[in-house]
């Protein structure tokens, strides 16, 4: 894909909130989905380009075991979700990466699979990481049923009734994915091989399409099993109420596996965050808000207020945040009802009057009226490569100036303090699961991954002080190979300042769920429910029309569509 040349940094940053404000973990842990989120980009494009969806194959028995092929025809190309449904004993159902069996497994096939493809995939997809997929597959995924809901929904439908909406609202999904691998994992096609295709060029579009089709497959499966049971027991099954089906998303359990991505892809993270900040700046620059746009944001605040009232979490920090967000929304509604101000003034007011949850929701919400005008910004959210050659001709003095500009937060930390380096990011031999250990308590330091850029760049800064200002960086790099990665990082961040989290990622009190939430918000996830400091459950595509029902009208701002349990 031919990328537009990046504008000069000064222009890029003009009018944006500074990285020192945006890229703090506590704030990132309050990011909300927006029209730029990747799920929204997918459904918007599907409507715009008139994608067609088909249930191409359905070979599933009464116990819900078998396979199915669901097809998305995007115009020039066809993508097929190949789904395998399994009979999983309860004792094997685990959301951990180290699990080896699942209720359902999936792959997104590039094209239309033939019998040989299906035979090959049947041997590899159900075993996930233990198998191999090929360049004709774009993703590999798996999901487990909600133990709380699945049987109740099958049973209710089999008896001709709708499931209890209050219980549905408690959970929000019938199945939750525990991984959606793409971008070359386990033999799949690399992103670069599809990056020139308009329909999947935006970040994580193959993964989002996979989940979108999984949600449809799950909706069909639960009704299929209900019909089979009804036939066996001599009852008449009910079809799932369309509003209930639309309100249900696909759950996801996200643990530490997702966290390193935010540190290892600085150019991409910069592209995502700077896109959102650029969109915000664009809206703030309007001198007089359109009354319709103002009214729309007010409506969205009212809807969100009703939705938040239904959210449940056991995590004390998130309970506090949700309560604050609820209060924020009441203040936002009052403020919007009063009218008579600009978006810019509204955002300034939010920064003094609201919690971070409310502030960041408002940032996302005021983009909604202008979603149709954000295509050019959205197109900048992909980057061709993370590779970066060191500029060896830069002087040590210039490098030090960059550190002073972008890493004062890191050089000000007392890295000798035990709490500053309390944690260790490492990879376990057990299915190569990323983990976070306690440096003083576990023998894992020798396996530490380079996921503490603040510490490493502070060290670089200290050693640079002994070098002459006019020495070329090439000489420094040659003499200090252990700091090569930190040096490269500084040069990358100089051109991609939203690519660095400006917090200590190995601090004793760092909350990994903030990392997860930031990334998931860009995906378009909703209902953040931390289950501990290290993993979070979310909901994807809740409120989105199912593929056969997708239309311009149904697609419009679907995250604000209200399910029966959300005050609809």
């Amino acid at each position: 894909m031919v990328k537009r040349a990046a504008p000069p940094l000064a222009d890029t940053l003009s009018g944006l909130r500074p990285p020192s404000k945006v890229m703090r973990l506590e704030r990132m842990g309050c990011f909300h989905a927006s029209p730029l989120s990747f799920m929204r980009q997918l459904t918007a494009r599907a409507v715009r380009d008139d994608w067609q969806f088909f249930m191409a194959d359905w070979q599933v028995d009464a116990q819900g075991v078998g396979h199915a092929v669901l097809r998305a025809q995007t115009g020039a190309r066809t993508y097929s979700l190949v789904a395998f449904f399994h009979d999983l004993p309860d004792e094997l159902r685990s959301d951990r990466v180290i699990a080896t069996a699942w209720d359902a497994t999936f792959t997104l096939f590039d094209g239309v699979p033939d019998e040989a493809d299906l035979t090959r995939l049947a041997a590899n997809v159900p075993v996930q990481e233990a198998g191999r997929i090929s360049e004709t597959e774009l993703t590999l995924s798996r999901a487990n049923r909600s133990v709380r809901l699945w049987e109740k929904v099958v049973s209710a439908l089999a008896n001709g009734q709708q499931p209890d909406t209050a219980e549905l609202g408690e959970v929000g999904y019938l199945m939750r994915t525990t991984a959606v691998y793409g971008s070359g994992k386990f033999g799949a096609a690399d992103y670069e091989t599809i990056s020139t295709r308009a329909e999947v060029a935006a970040p994580f579009q193959a993964e989002m399409l996979t989940v979108y089709l999984i949600r449809w497959a799950v909706t069909e499966l639960v009704q299929h099993m209900a019909r089979a049971r009804a036939a066996a027991q001599g009852t008449q099954a009910a079809a799932l109420d369309p509003d209930i089906a639309r309100g249900l998303g696909i759950g996801n359990s996200t643990g530490l596996g997702m966290a390193p991505f935010l540190m290892t892809h600085p150019k991409l993270i910069h592209a995502w965050v700077s896109a959102r900040e650029s969109a915000l700046a664009l809206v703030r620059a309007q001198q007089t808000p359109d009354p319709e746009a103002w009214a729309l944001v007010l409506t969205l605040a009212q809807i969100m207020s009703a939705k938040v009232a239904t959210w449940r979490t056991d995590h004390p920090r998130q309970q506090e945040r949700d309560a604050g967000f609820s209060d924020d929304l009441a203040r936002i509604i009052t403020r919007l009802e009063a009218g008579g101000t600009t978006w810019d003034t509204l955002i300034d007011w939010a920064e003094t009057a609201l919690t971070l949850e409310g502030q960041e929701w408002l940032v996302s919400a005021i983009l909604e009226p202008y979603a149709a005008h954000l295509d050019a910004i959205a197109a900048e959210m992909s980057v061709p490569t993370e590779a970066h050659r060191i500029d060896g001709q830069m002087t040590v003095g210039a490098l030090k100036a960059l550190i002073a500009l972008h890493y004062s937060w890191a050089t000000e930390i007392d890295w000798d303090a035990a709490e500053a380096q309390a944690r260790v990011w490492y990879t376990s031999a057990e299915k190569l699961e990323p983990r976070l250990g306690e440096r003083a308590e576990e023998p894992v330091e020798e396996y530490e991954q380079p996921l503490a850029p603040g510490r490493d760049i502070a060290k670089l800064h200290a050693i640079l002080s002994a070098w002459p200002e006019d020495a070329p960086v090439a000489e420094f790099a040659l003499a200090n190979p252990a700091l090569r990665h930190a040096l490269r990082r500084v040069q990358i961040i100089a051109a991609h300042p939203f690519g660095e989290i400006q917090d200590n990622t190995i601090a004793a009190h760092m909350m990994p769920i903030d990392l997860l939430r930031a990334k998931l918000s860009f995906f378009g996830a909703q209902r953040f429910d931390p289950r501990s400091d290290r993993w979070v459950r979310i909901c994807m595509f809740a409120g989105a029309p199912l593929p056969p029902d997708l239309s311009a009208q149904s697609e419009c701002r679907w995250p604000y569509w209200q399910a029966p349990w959300e005050g609809a």
């Binding site: 096609a189 690399d190 990879t427 090569r484």
Partner: protein, 209 residues
């Protein structure tokens, strides 16, 4: 040695290169160079992973004395020399001649980073290979002979005036590696993984049920 080939995505091969290089003792920044270099070589249909394996199996030696350029660090590895070359950003008019380079193929991406046209030739006692690279933002590569030589080679990089007339090597979207080589690289990579323990499983990870 098994003749079975494993097909991999380029990113998968690059990730393996990164971990294997680190597992063999390379600094993180050099492991990053290994990933980029192996990915680049694979993307031109050439065997990047075996070249890296030869580098890692030859062993990494500690740096000694004063270093001023690629020739002073080539004893460490071709990746050290390539990184130094790339950082310095130029090749002298008389060319660059490096003795006893293992995994010479991995030098090519570093040269391709420079603008201009260069011949890269490496010669062992019984084999030789020569590639021409036109560097810059869209590098092109021409190859003569088999680039997969074994053992230490004398490597020469010379500026050229023009690129060859024929078509450059076609790009590849996949990497291929013998299973035997793959296992040996994975053994290096495994040194970066902490042993699985119950305590680690219980407290170190996210996700549960």
């Amino acid at each position: 040695m098994s003749l079975t080939l494993r097909e991999m995505s380029l990113s998968e091969a690059g990730a393996l290169a990164f971990k294997a290089a680190r597992g063999a003792g390379m600094e993180w920044g050099l492991a990053e160079e290994a990933r980029v270099s192996v990915t680049w070589v694979n993307s031109h249909g050439l065997p990047g992973l075996p070249a890296l394996l030869s580098v890692l199996e030859a062993g990494l030696k500690p740096m000694q004395g004063t270093v001023n350029g690629p020739a002073d660090v080539v004893c460490l590895s071709v990746l050290h020399a390539g990184a130094a070359l790339s950082d310095h950003g130029r090749i002298p008019a008389e060319g660059l001649h490096l003795p006893a380079v293992v995994g010479s193929l991995l030098m090519v991406p570093f040269v391709a980073h420079l603008s201009g046209v260069y011949s890269i030739e490496w010669r062992t006692h019984d084999a030789s290979a020569q590639v021409t690279v036109r560097g810059g933002s869209e590098p092109c590569l021409w190859c003569a002979g088999s680039p997969a030589t074994h053992g230490a080679a004398r490597l020469s990089i010379m500026p050229l005036v023009d690129a060859p007339a024929g078509a450059p090597i076609a790009r590849s979207t996949r990497a291929f590696v013998h299973i035997d080589h793959l296992k040996r690289l994975e053994a290096f990579a495994a040194a970066t993984y902490a042993p699985a323990t119950e305590a680690s499983r219980a407290r170190g990870a996210g996700g549960a049920d």
